[in-house]
C-alpha cells in the first residue's frame, strides 16, 4: 500500500524544477488558497474556501473596484488561476495572462482560424506549463511564460460531437482530463496525460468492461447500448493526497431520457467515482442517479472535508447534485452518511441500502409528458464549504419540468426525449453537513442564472444573484452585506488571492474580469514609493 510515499517522493524529485520564481510550487495545491489560486477549485478539496480575512463581514461594504480586464470575449466561464502575481484565464480557443496587481494583459493566446469566444472552465498549471481543453476535444500545452503552444493532442473525436472545456486537474505528474458531449451517443472517460510529452498514461472508461461484472450486469447486452455512450466527465474533480484517491462525477447515460433501451443501473454513469490517479483503477463508486432518465449529470464538484459525524471522526465527501439531492459520503469507501433532498424531488421513490435514490418509474419521461420536480436543482457552477460554519453553500433551483419521451422503444438513439422547465425559483441555500438540512436561504431573486460560490475566513460568502448582482453575504446568516451590478452575468465563480498584503476578489463577468479590493492602502498609491515588480 502506498500511503505517503508517492507525494513525498515526487515533491523531493521535483524540487530542482521549482527554481524559477514564476513556476507553480506543487505544494500550493495542498493548502487552502491564500497568496496563490493554483487550480480550478483553489486547492484539491473543492471547498473553495480561502483563509484570507482582510476583507471580512465588518468591512466588506467598502469593497470597491481595483481594476477591470477587458478580454473582448463573450461568456467567460473560466476560473482564473493566480500564480506568482499572474492570473491565467482560459477561453474557448484562447487564453490570457494578466497582471494580478494591475489588470494589464501580459500575453494573449489564440488558436489561428478558430472561434475565439466561449465557455472553457479554466487552465490547469504544472510548474511553468498551462493546459487547456479545447472546443474541438483537444488538449493544448502552453508555456506559461509567453503563451506559446508547446504541444497539442486529440482527446476525443469532434466529428462525433465530442467537445472539451473542462479545466484539467494536475496530480503530481499527471494531467487528468475529461470530455464533454451528449448530442450523439458518445462514451465518457477520463485520461491521464504526461505533462511533458502529452502521452496518454491511462484511461478510465465510464462504459462497462466485461470483466467488471457489477458494471457489466447493470446494462442489457442484447443490443450494443452498453458500448455506445454516457458518463461524460466535464467538470473538474477533487483529490485526497493522503488516501491517494481522485474523485470525479460522471454524466448521464445514453440514449438520453429513454428507459426501455437500457434496463439496469447503467454504471458508471451519473456516479461519483474514486480512482487511483496513478493507474486509473476504480476503488469505489456511489451512483447518485441509478438508471437516470432525466439527464441528471453527476458532474457537480465532490467537496472534501474532515470532521466528526455523529461523534465519529470522518473523512467526508459532499455533493449537491443536479437531481436535487444532497449527499454526504465517507470518502475512504463511498459509504453513505446523508442522502437528503435540498429541493422538492418527486422522481425519488426512496433510497436503497447504499443510500442511492430509487427512481420512480411513474416519473420517467412519457410520450404524453410527465411532471417532474427536482431537476437542475443545481448545476455545474461550483458550490463552497466553509469549515468555520460547517455549512455547504449551493445555488439551488426549485423547478417543475415536463418530460416528453420522443423516441420510445429499445432502438432509441442520442436525445430520445425533450424537457421543458416551467419556471423556477432560485435560492442560495446553506446546508448543514451534519444533517443535510437547510440552515438558511438567501433569496437570490428571480429566475435563471446560477453562479459559483467562494467562502472565506472573513465570514463571507461571495456569489452572484440571478438578477446579475455580485453579492457578499454573511456566512452565518445569509444577510447581504455588499452588492454590485457589473453589467453581465457571472459565468463561473469568484476567486480570491492576496498580493502585496492586499486581498483581491476576482469575478469573471461575460467578457470582463473584475478585481475588487478594499480601498487602496498607502503603499499602492501613486505618490508612494515605486512598487516592486513581481
Amino acid at each position: 500500500m502506498k500511503k505517503f510515499a508517492p507525494l513525498t517522493f515526487l515533491l523531493v524529485l521535483l524540487a530542482p524544477l521549482v527554481s524559477s520564481a514564476q513556476t507553480l510550487d506543487p505544494g500550493k495545491m495542498l493548502k487552502p488558497p491564500s497568496d496563490t489560486w493554483p487550480t480550478y477549485n483553489g486547492d484539491y478539496t473543492g471547498r473553495r474556501f480561502s483563509p484570507l480575512a482582510q476583507i471580512n463581514k465588518t468591512n466588506v461594504g467598502a469593497l470597491s473596484l481595483a481594476w477591470a480586464f477587458q478580454a473582448h470575449a463573450n461568456g467567460l466561464q473560466s476560473m482564473p488561476l493566480e500564480v506568482n502575481g499572474i492570473l491565467y484565464i482560459a477561453g474557448g480557443n484562447q487564453g490570457w495572462a494578466v497582471d494580478a496587481r494591475t489588470g494589464r494583459q501580459i500575453w494573449h493566446f489564440a488558436r489561428p482560424g478558430m472561434a475565439t469566444s466561449g465557455g472553457n472552465k479554466g487552465f490547469a498549471m504544472w510548474h511553468d506549463r498551462l493546459y487547456l481543453s479545447t472546443p474541438d476535444a483537444g488538449l493544448l500545452c502552453l508555456d506559461a511564460k509567453d503563451g506559446k503552444q508547446l504541444w497539442q493532442i486529440q482527446i476525443a473525436d469532434p466529428a462525433l460531437k465530442a467537445f472539451g472545456g473542462v479545466a484539467p486537474l494536475v496530480i503530481r505528474d499527471h494531467i487528468i482530463v475529461g470530455t464533454s458531449g451528449d448530442t450523439a451517443d458518445l462514451p465518457g472517460f477520463l485520461e491521464s496525460v504526461d505533462p511533458m510529452t502529452g502521452k496518454i498514461e491511462w484511461r478510465w472508461d465510464a462504459m462497462p468492461k466485461r470483466d467488471d461484472t457489477v458494471a457489466w450486469n447493470s446494462w442489457p447486452h442484447d443490443t450494443d447500448v452498453a458500448t455506445r455512450g454516457g458518463g461524460m466527465t466535464w467538470i473538474t474533480g477533487t483529490y485526497d493526497p493522503q488516501l491517494n484517491l481522485l474523485y470525479w462525477g460522471t454524466g448521464n447515460p445514453h440514449p438520453v431520457e429513454n428507459s426501455e433501451s437500457r434496463p439496469g443501473a447503467n454504471l458508471y454513469t451519473c456516479a461519483i467515482v474514486a480512482l487511483n490517479p496513478d493507474t486509473g483503477k476504480l476503488v469505489w463508486y456511489f451512483q447518485s442517479s441509478p438508471h437516470d432518465t432525466h439527464d441528471w449529470d453527476t458532474v457537480m464538484t465532490p467537496v472534501l472535508f474532515d470532521g466528526t459525524f455523529k461523534g465519529k471522526p470522518r473523512k467526508m465527501l459532499a455533493q449537491a447534485n443536479k437531481n436535487g439531492l444532497f449527499f454526504v459520503l465517507d470518502r475512504t469507501n463511498g459509504k453513505s452518511l446523508i442522502s437528503e433532498a435540498f429541493v422538492p424531488a418527486n422522481w425519488v421513490k426512496g433510497y436503497d441500502d447504499r443510500g442511492q435514490p430509487i427512481p420512480d418509474p411513474d416519473k420517467e419521461p412519457k410520450p404524453d409528458g410527465v411532471l417532474v420536480t427536482g431537476g437542475v436543482g443545481t448545476n455545474w457552477q461550483a458550490p463552497s464549504y466553509d469549515p468555520d460554519t460547517g455549512l455547504f453553500y449551493v445555488n439551488s433551483r426549485e423547478t417543475m419540468g415536463v418530460f416528453y419521451l420522443t423516441m420510445p422503444g429499445k432502438s432509441a438513439e442520442g436525445w430520445a426525449g425533450r424537457d421543458f422547465f416551467l419556471g423556477s425559483k432560485s435560492m442560495l441555500k446553506a446546508i448543514d453537513v451534519q444533517t443535510g438540512k437547510t440552515r438558511w436561504i438567501a433569496d437570490t431573486q428571480g429566475r435563471g442564472g446560477q453562479s459559483g460560490i467562494l467562502s472565506t475566513a472573513g465570514h463571507l460568502v461571495f456569489t452572484a444573484d440571478s438578477s446579475g448582482n455580485l453579492v457578499a453575504l454573511d456566512a452565518a446568516t445569509g444577510k447581504v452585506l455588499w452588492h454590485m451590478y457589473p453589467g453581465g452575468s457571472l459565468g463561473a465563480g469568484p476567486m480570491t488571492y492576496e498580493l502585496d498584503g492586499r486581498q483581491y476578489v476576482v469575478y469573471p463577468v461575460d467578457g470582463v474580469v473584475y478585481a475588487f479590493a478594499l480601498p487602496a492602502p498607502a503603499p499602492v498609491s501613486r505618490s508612494a514609493a515605486p512598487r516592486t515588480s513581481h
Binding site: 474557448g92 480557443n93 488558436r111 482560424g113 478558430m114 472561434a115 469566444s117 466561449g118 465557455g119 479545447t134 472546443p135 474541438d136 473525436d157 469532434p158 466529428a159 462525433l160 460531437k161 467537445f163 472545456g165 464533454s180 451528449d182 448530442t183 450523439a184 451517443d185 450494443d224 455506445r228 438520453v256 411513474d362 412519457k366 410520450p367 404524453d368 409528458g369 410527465v370 411532471l371 417543475m400 415536463v402 416528453y404 420522443t406 423516441m407 432502438s411 438513439e413 442520442g414 436525445w415 430520445a416 425533450r418 421543458f420 416551467l422 419556471g423 433569496d443 431573486q445 428571480g446 444573484d465 438578477s467 448582482n469 447581504v480 452588492h483
Partner: protein
C-alpha cells in the same frame, strides 16, 4: 466531383446549433436554394440505392445491424464529399466481409448525400435541434375531455379568467400541441405590474422591469421609465400569472393530460 452542398448545410446546421459550445470549426457557407434542392434530390436517389444495396447490413436508416452503424462512424463523420466513403463503397472491405460496389462517381455522390441527410436528421433529434413542434396532438391528448372540462371549471378555477368561447376560442389552432401544453402549464411573457408609492406619497403605476431587492424599476403607464432604491418606496406587485404558478405545484400528470385533451378540442 460535385460541390458537397448538403454536407456544408449539415455542418452549418450542426455548427449553428452547437454555437453555445463554440465548436472550433470554420463556419461553412450556406448553400443556395438551388444547391439545396439538388442535394435533396441526390439524397432521395441515394436513399433508394442505399435501401437496395446497403440496408441489408447497415439498416434503412444507416444505424447498423449486421454491419456497422454508419451514423456513429468516425469515417463517415470525417468524410468530405465522398473522399473517405467513396473508396470503401467502390473498393469494399474484404476483411470485414463487405464486397465492392461498382458505383459511378455520381451514384457514390448520391449515397454520400443520403448519409449526410441522415446525419443531419439524427443530430436534429437531439437537444440542440429545433423546438419539437412535431409532437402530434394525439400523442399528448391521452386524457379525458370531460375530466379536463370539469377541472377547468372546478378545482383549476381556470374559468375565473378564461372562457372556451372567449379568449380561448380556437386556441388549439393557434399553437402547436407541445406549445399549447407548455403555455397552459406555465405561460410566459406577461410582466408583473406594480404600484410604487414614493416618499412624498406620489403613486406610479406600470410594468415591472427590475425588482432585485436593491432597486425597483418600472415602465410607467405615463410612458416613462422610473427607478428607485427599493428601501425608498412602498411597492405592491401583481403577477397576472400567479394563479398559473400556484397551480403548477398542484397538477397531477392526469390533470395535465385531461386539461390538454380538453383544450385541444377548442379549434
Amino acid at each position: 466531383m460535385k460541390k458537397p452542398a448538403l454536407i456544408a448545410f449539415a455542418i452549418l446546421v450542426v455548427a449553428v446549433s452547437l454555437s453555445a459550445q463554440q465548436v472550433g470549426q470554420q463556419r461553412p457557407v450556406r448553400p443556395s436554394a438551388v444547391e439545396a434542392a439538388a442535394q435533396a434530390a441526390a439524397a432521395e436517389r441515394g436513399r433508394t440505392a442505399f435501401k437496395q444495396n446497403c440496408a441489408v447490413c447497415h439498416a434503412d436508416d444507416a444505424t447498423g445491424g449486421r454491419g456497422p452503424d454508419l451514423i456513429r462512424s468516425s469515417l463517415v463523420r470525417h468524410d468530405k464529399g465522398g473522399d473517405l466513403i467513396g473508396p470503401v463503397i467502390t473498393g469494399g472491405r474484404a476483411e470485414k466481409g463487405m464486397p465492392p460496389f461498382p458505383f459511378s462517381d455520381s451514384q457514390v455522390a448520391d449515397l454520400v448525400a443520403f448519409l449526410n441527410a441522415e446525419l443531419t436528421l439524427f443530430d436534429l433529434h437531439t437537444r440542440f435541434g429545433p423546438y419539437p413542434n412535431d409532437i402530434p396532438a394525439e400523442r399528448l391528448a391521452t386524457g379525458s375531455v370531460e375530466a379536463g372540462k370539469a377541472y377547468f371549471n372546478g378545482p383549476g378555477k381556470c374559468n375565473t379568467c378564461h372562457s372556451p368561447t372567449g379568449d380561448l376560442a380556437g386556441v388549439a389552432k393557434k399553437y402547436t400541441p407541445p406549445d399549447l401544453e407548455v403555455r397552459f402549464l406555465y405561460p410566459s411573457g406577461k410582466p408583473s405590474t406594480a404600484v410604487v408609492t414614493d416618499a412624498a406619497g406620489k403613486k406610479f403605476e406600470g410594468t415591472v422591469v427590475l425588482n432585485d431587492g436593491f432597486y425597483v424599476s418600472i415602465n410607467g403607464n405615463d410612458g416613462w421609465y422610473h427607478s428607485w432604491p427599493r428601501s425608498a418606496v412602498k411597492l405592491e406587485v401583481t403577477d397576472p400569472l400567479a394563479a398559473h404558478a400556484a397551480l403548477l405545484d398542484k397538477y397531477t400528470d392526469a390533470d395535465m393530460h385531461d386539461v390538454f385533451t380538453y383544450l385541444e378540442t377548442l379549434k
